[in-house]
Amino acid sequence: MKFRSLALTLALLVLQGCATVAVERAKDLSSAAIKYSEATAAVIDVAIDAAIDADSEAQVRSAPRPPLTEVKQRERAKALEQLDAGLAKTVSLYTVLKHSVNTTKAYFIALQDLADGSQADATGDAVKSVGERVNSVNKALQGADATPKLSDAKIAALGGLAKQVAAQIHGAKVAKALERDAPIIGRALVLQQSVLRLAGDDIRNNLNEANNRFFVDRVRTPYQRGEMGPGWANDRRAYLKVRALGQTETALNSAEAAAGQMQIVWERILSGSSSAKEITAMLKDTEDLLDAVNTLKDADKSK
């Protein structure tokens, strides 16, 4: 009997530790992935504007010299229609992709809800309440002088144990979900990364074109003509910095940072390695479970 209790306790300890790590991982992953989805959606909005602006500015830049014949004007109207049709389709496709990104966000919100949805406290309280009601029924049946079936200490210990078991069940469910959904999560991340890359291309292109026009108008042409005003040095510095840094878009940088954080968490999950934080959490829960088992034993002894 003693051996069986010990085996049960050890099994609970092992399961409890693994389960808690899974919960921590799911919390890390879901919160990073939600940020990633939000950043990707924000980048899509910036990319839509960038694609339209780059096209428009190129048209402004290359506007024909007047006067324009009627035939030429009709041709230009058709040309604008052609460009508009292409850009309208771009807006529509980016919007569809944004919807898809939001669908993956909904998955990670559900994962976060499950990870945060431990019923351990509620279960502990509910079991304690059952214990108290058992005593209350006993009192009603045998009279006010009847000895309680369960001592206060035992009720508290049962509640504590129930709490730990519920936490373990919750962790096991999260661990199973992570294992089951691993391919889906991986796929979601790859697809979002691709959306980010395509959107990033359009944002970078718009920046580069704007920077090139700035260079021609404010740096090269005044230099060629020997007409550098007081702002020329500043303009040149601004151009060179953008040219060297390539990308300065805040939304793009924040999305890439979120992607990096999330990928680290995901790699850790796939590799099965544990961080110090996870190990500490595992040990803390192990101690809590041991305490709960010991409290129950003590309550049994004192009865």
Binding site: G86, S100, A140, S194, E209
Partner: protein, 134 residues
């Protein structure tokens, strides 16, 4: 080409290195993207032309080049976005079904507590009835 004697090719090549394709993305999508990047780099260079320095014929040819490149960029961008959108669309039912499963699992956990609470409530009612009968 209108730009040939007006710019210094390479001197102002501003396009930063585009990130590599993530694993699992169709090669055709990546090829379309690379084509679009090349055309975008071309338009970036066309923006280095000083319009004021062009004669009328060169200016018209330059404007025509910008228009054609812009149409091609839009077409390639749409083809790339469509391809990626199709890939995403094929996976959406899986994401939705997985999210539903997670919600169901959370509901099951909450339901288990509700059952214990119901037992506790039933015991409370029993004790009241017994007290009343006594």
């Amino acid at each position: 080409m209108a730009t040939s004697n007006k710019t210094s090719p390479g001197a102002h090549a501003p396009a930063p290195q585009a990130p590599a394709a993530p694993a699992g993305i169709a090669p055709a999508t990546e090829q379309l993207r690379q084509l679009k990047l090349n055309l975008q780099a071309t338009r970036e260079k066309l923006m280095l032309v000083s319009p004021d320095l062009l004669n009328d014929a060169d200016h018209e040819a330059w404007g025509e080049q910008i228009f054609k490149v812009s149409v091609a960029i839009n077409g390639l961008r749409n083809a790339t976005l469509q391809a990626l959108s199709d890939e995403f669309k094929a996976e959406l039912p899986k994401f939705e079904s997985a999210a539903t499963k997670l919600t169901d699992e959370l509901f099951q956990l909450q339901q288990a507590v509700d059952v214990i609470k119901a037992v506790s409530a039933a015991l409370g009612v029993i004790s009241k009835i017994v007290t009343l009968l006594g």
